[in-house]
């Protein structure tokens, strides 16, 4: 047997989990304390205990609307992935396509997409379509940009190596370019996913009769701040679940690249 090269330090999982849990608990306690001490009226800022109660008590209503929001996020984000990654790939391989699509891409990004929401109502009414479209538009850009950066990050020597093996274009994409790009693509997906949640809510503010964004607007109109906060809690939960789903996928697909070493050897720098 050979000697070990590098040993990974044992993970102290109990301590690792304790710190973030404590920090969130402290924040909630502070909130509760401030509201009670200063006697802040409930229509201004409800205490977290009340919010938690309503978030559970109103869960049938919130769940029904959450489903609508979740659908918009899933479809919009899915569309952004299915269209964004192939577009970035084409941009890498075709200079003409790159030059053709680039100005359109930048224009679409600098354009405030919220401004399109009233148009969407005219064109598509108050259904699922305007929500999906808005979510797609907002999630699309970071996915394309990061995929582009990732696909360009391949080392020319790696491609030369593949050519000397008689490798085809398809093989070099599949075996080298795409795996090289994966960490970049996943950072794009993570940003895209958080953007997608924003996109769905914004669309629901303006052009919807269902979803948690719609609940927010309606509850605020009747000064039901507890329900507003309860809906926000649900949104946070949805955001968390989707974000960690992407991160989980990243852990499965991105192998052999640990940031652990740089953290360890960098000693906090």
């Amino acid at each position: 047997m050979q000697t070990e090269v590098k040993k990974k330090p044992p993970a102290k999982s109990s301590v690792r989990w304790l710190v973030p849990v404590l920090s969130i608990l402290a924040l909630l306690l502070l909130w509760e304390g401030v509201v009670r001490l200063l006697n802040i009226p409930i229509y201004m800022l409800p205490p977290p205990s009340k919010v938690a109660h309503v978030a559970v008590a109103e869960s049938p209503l919130l769940f029904r609307h959450a489903l609508s929001t979740i659908w918009a996020i899933l479809l919009g984000f899915g569309l952004a992935v299915v269209i964004g990654i192939p577009i970035a790939t084409l941009m890498i391989y075709s200079d003409a396509f790159n030059r053709a699509i680039y100005p359109i891409l930048i224009t679409a990004q600098v354009l405030p997409k919220v401004a399109l929401a009233p148009l969407f109502i005219v064109w598509f009414g108050f259904g699922l379509i305007p929500k999906v479209l808005m979510t797609f538009l907002i999630a699309f850009f970071p996915i394309v940009v990061d995929t582009l950066a990732g696909l360009s990050a391949v080392r020319p020597e790696s491609l030369m190596l593949l050519r000397s093996m008689g490798g085809s274009r398809w093989q070099s994409f599949w075996k080298v370019r795409l795996p090289t790009a994966l960490p970049h693509i996943f950072s794009g997906l993570k940003i895209g996913m958080t953007f997608a949640v924003v996109g769905a809510i914004v669309a629901e503010f303006v052009a919807s009769e269902a979803g948690l964004g719609y609940v927010l607007v309606e509850a605020r109109a009747s000064l039901n701040m507890v329900l507003v906060f309860a809906a926000i809690i649900w949104l946070i939960a949805i955001g968390f679940i989707f974000y960690f789903a992407v991160e989980y996928a990243e852990r499965i697909f991105v192998k052999g690249r640990s940031t652990k070493r740089s953290q360890e050897l960098g000693a906090g720098l």
């Binding site: 047997m1 050979q2 090269v5 590098k6 080392r155 020597e157 790696s158 030369m160 190596l161 593949l162 050519r163 000397s164 093996m165 008689g166 490798g167 093989q171 075996k175 080298v176 795996p179 090289t180 994966l182 991105v254 192998k255 052999g256 690249r257 640990s258 070493r261």
Partner: protein
């Protein structure tokens, strides 16, 4: 003795001119001619950035010559030559693949049966002192270890030609000495036609049958020196007068070529 009589690799008046961004012609190679026999170990020795790598890429068919041509076994090279193994200065291992998987990339791309080659790859790894490291990711290997894996990847498919582009340039002096010993041993076993691009005079003389000394940019052949030292050569040979006669002569040449000044 010369059973293959004709040269195996025939570099015929190869020149290379690059276009700079401003449209100017930048000459990298000026008419290089070189014949290399099968099983010969030839070093291209010259200052950094003199066009040695360019010449190697043209031999591999990865870059086109502006003038002249390269023939391998009498056939003109137009596409990448695939009966070849290449080692670059950086190991160029794919970081998401283990050492073994990196070596077996050759098989995947060439559509060879992977299971047949697993024992061969493992044997190569043990020959370079890396048995037990098959399942390590590159991130867990030292620079010297990575370069050994890259060497195994260049040899696993048993190619005719082994090209090495300053493969040990990034390694420390001690690791480099060990790599030279290992490379000589493996080469003596397999007798590949080998071209080594290097800027280390000692390394070139230690490893080669012939050292081709190249001038600065645009590169051409200054002298083609046959190294008549018995093999296997041990590190101690570098202290011998015969060895130093070669290295001293080459150093003088580089001085004449203006590579070293104020010496």
């Amino acid at each position: 003795m010369d059973q293959t009589s004709a040269s195996f690799i025939d570099i015929r008046s190869v020149a290379k001119v690059y276009q700079s961004d401003t449209g100017e012609d930048v000459p990298a190679l000026s008419s290089v001619s070189l014949k290399i026999k099968q099983g010969e170990f030839v070093s291209l020795l010259g200052p950094s950035g003199c066009g040695k790598t360019t010449l190697m890429m043209i031999v591999a068919g990865l870059s086109a010559a502006s003038k002249g041509e390269v023939q391998i076994e009498g056939k003109k090279i137009v596409d990448p030559y695939t009966d070849i193994g290449i080692v670059f200065q950086n190991a160029e291992l794919l970081e998401w693949r283990t050492a073994l998987q990196n070596i077996l990339l050759q098989m995947e791309i060439r559509k060879l049966d992977i299971n047949t080659y697993i024992p061969i790859a493992k044997q190569l790894l043990s020959q370079v002192g890396l048995s037990g490291f098959e399942d390590r990711y590159p991130d867990e290997l030292s620079g010297g270890m990575k370069q050994r894996v890259a060497l195994c990847r260049a040899l696993v498919h048993d190619p005719d030609i082994l090209l090495m582009d300053e493969p040990f340039g990034a390694l420390d002096a001690m690791t480099r000495d060990q790599m030279n010993i290992d490379l000589q041993r493996i080469w003596l076993e397999k007798r590949k036609t080998a071209i080594l691009v290097t800027h280390s005079i000692d390394e070139a003389v230690f490893l080669s049958d012939r050292v081709v000394v190249m001038t600065g940019r645009p590169a051409s052949v200054a002298e083609d020196i046959k190294i008549d030292l018995p093999r296997p050569r041990k590190l101690g040979i570098r202290d011998s007068s015969e060895f130093n006669a070669y290295t001293g002569h080459i150093r003088e040449m580089f001085k004449d070529l203006g590579v070293f000044t104020n010496d």
